[in-house]
């Protein structure tokens, strides 16, 4: 198990170093996040729908689409000079490859969310100070879930034509559950509802994470075989 994590960290460290050097995907994701929040801020009619009704959905749509950039990029990196072939020839455990990609994708998405959340608070003028910790818990649990599934699908589609278009199409049906849970939990938190009303959604998110991280780890080796 220790070797598995060592290899996973080697992969994650390499991916993050490459992203730090090129900065292509992270800059795109951050600009995208800022633009989407800006468009939603100015494109809505505050007299027709209240901010509190709309804000949770906007937050999660923004995070999901921004994360898609990270997920698309995860295995595209390995197509350069067919590095994926080298990884599969090496003694690298396939599960380490998955876990390494998952760690790097999580780091990427966390950066986007760390920038996106303050912008969201600023644009939509929602008070999150009193619910910050539970809100961060919702964001963390939902992020782990959809990045875990997204990393698996990213590997599945990377060798197909139009992988960038295909990934959202195959991935979004699997994101309906965690996004629904996350939106429901976020809406209740922003509305000032008691934490007991949110606990159930958090448990569902945690269950989704456990199931899909386990399933994705198990299936991943089959997705990268030639």
């Amino acid at each position: 198990m220790r070797e598995l994590w060592r290899q996973a960290w080697t992969i994650a460290h390499k991916d993050l170093t490459l992203e730090f050097r090129s900065r292509t995907a992270i800059v795109s994701a951050l600009v995208f996040t800022a633009l989407v929040l800006t468009v939603f801020n100015f494109g809505r009619d505050p007299t027709a729908v209240s901010t509190l009704d709309l804000a949770p959905s906007i937050l999660w749509v923004t995070f999901t689409f921004a994360a898609m950039l990270a997920l698309n990029r995860a295995f595209q990196l390995e197509l350069e000079n067919q590095a994926l072939e080298g990884l599969l020839i090496s003694p690298l455990d396939r599960r380490s490859l998955y876990w390494g990609k998952l760690l790097a994708n999580l780091a990427f998405v966390v950066v986007v969310e760390a920038v996106g959340l303050p912008l969201f608070v600023l644009f939509f003028n929602v008070a999150v100070g009193h619910v910050l910790l539970p809100l961060l818990a919702v964001i963390a649990l939902a992020t782990v879930g959809f990045v875990a599934v997204g990393t698996l699908f990213s590997a599945m589609v990377v060798r197909t034509r139009f992988a960038e278009l295909l990934l959202p199409v195959v991935l979004f049906p699997f994101l309906l559950l965690p996004l629904t849970y996350a939106v429901q939990a976020t809406a209740r938190l922003l509305a000032g509802r008691p934490l007991s009303e949110v606990a159930g959604w958090l448990r569902l998110l945690a269950a989704y994470d456990i199931v899909f991280v386990a399933v994705a780890s198990w299936l991943f080796p089959y997705t990268v075989e030639e």
Binding site: E3, Q7, L18, Q82, E85, I89, S90, P91
Partner: protein, 219 residues
């Protein structure tokens, strides 16, 4: 379509098998089966020591463009389980053997085609593999670099490494080989020790073997 058919051989330490065949003969497929990249539908392939023992040089370099040559080597050394304390010295040694020392800190994307191929060879040697699988390894190398690679492969053979070299160019691999195979349409049509034959004799035998197989197929 059958990519490999009735291919059977075994090699021991110090042997170099040169597989010659035209394009589409299944040479790369055979190497991928040996490397564990493709699982054969029937039969089996086994490399002593498993994937850790294999060094691979193929059509692609497997290098990350935004990492320096040294960083690439350290990354692959880590994946192949080279102890952390030994990685730096190992990378320095391999870089020197491939005459890449002064390019070590350059990002891989900035290298010329020939230097990329040298870096790919360095990557294949970083974990001191017992078995080298080489798919057209001379592609992109100038005459001097190709000569250096031949010397290097000769030294590795002398050090007891097993080398399997696939190429369509008989002149490139004949001198290195202890064993020679001609592969046509997935089959070994000839497989025997090289003996005292030189490149010209092997080239003649290759042309005859390929001609007979292809001619027979078209007759």
């Amino acid at each position: 379509m059958v990519a490999l058919d009735d291919v059977s051989f075994s090699l021991t330490a110090g042997q170099t098998l040169a597989i010659f065949g035209p394009n589409g003969a299944g040479k790369t497929t055979l190497l991928k089966v040996l490397a564990g990249l493709i699982r054969p539908q029937a039969g089996s392939a086994r490399v002593a020591g498993g994937r850790s023992a294999i060094g691979w040089i193929g059509h692609q370099s497997h290098l990350y463009g935004h990492l320096s040559v040294r960083e690439n080597l350290l990354f692959w050394a880590s994946l192949y389980g080279v102890p952390r304390a030994a990685r730096g010295a190992r990378a320095t040694d391999v870089l020197a053997r491939l005459s890449l020392t002064d390019r070590a800190e350059q990002p891989a994307w900035s290298l010329s085609r020939g230097l990329v191929q040298r870096a790919a060879i360095a990557k294949a040697l970083i974990h001191d593999p017992q078995v080298l699988l080489l798919d057209e390894p001379f592609t992109g190398l100038d005459l001097a670099a190709a000569g250096e690679l031949r010397s290097l492969l000769g030294a590795l053979r002398g050090a007891g490494r097993v080398v399997v070299l696939a190429t369509h160019n008989v002149d490139e691999g004949a001198e290195l080989a202890t064993d020679v195979a001609f592969q046509v349409r997935g089959r070994f049509v000839q497989y025997e020790p090289r003996g005292g034959r030189g490149p010209a004799e092997i080239a003649d035998a290759y042309r005859r073997a390929v001609g007979e197989t292809e001619g027979g197929r078209h007759a």
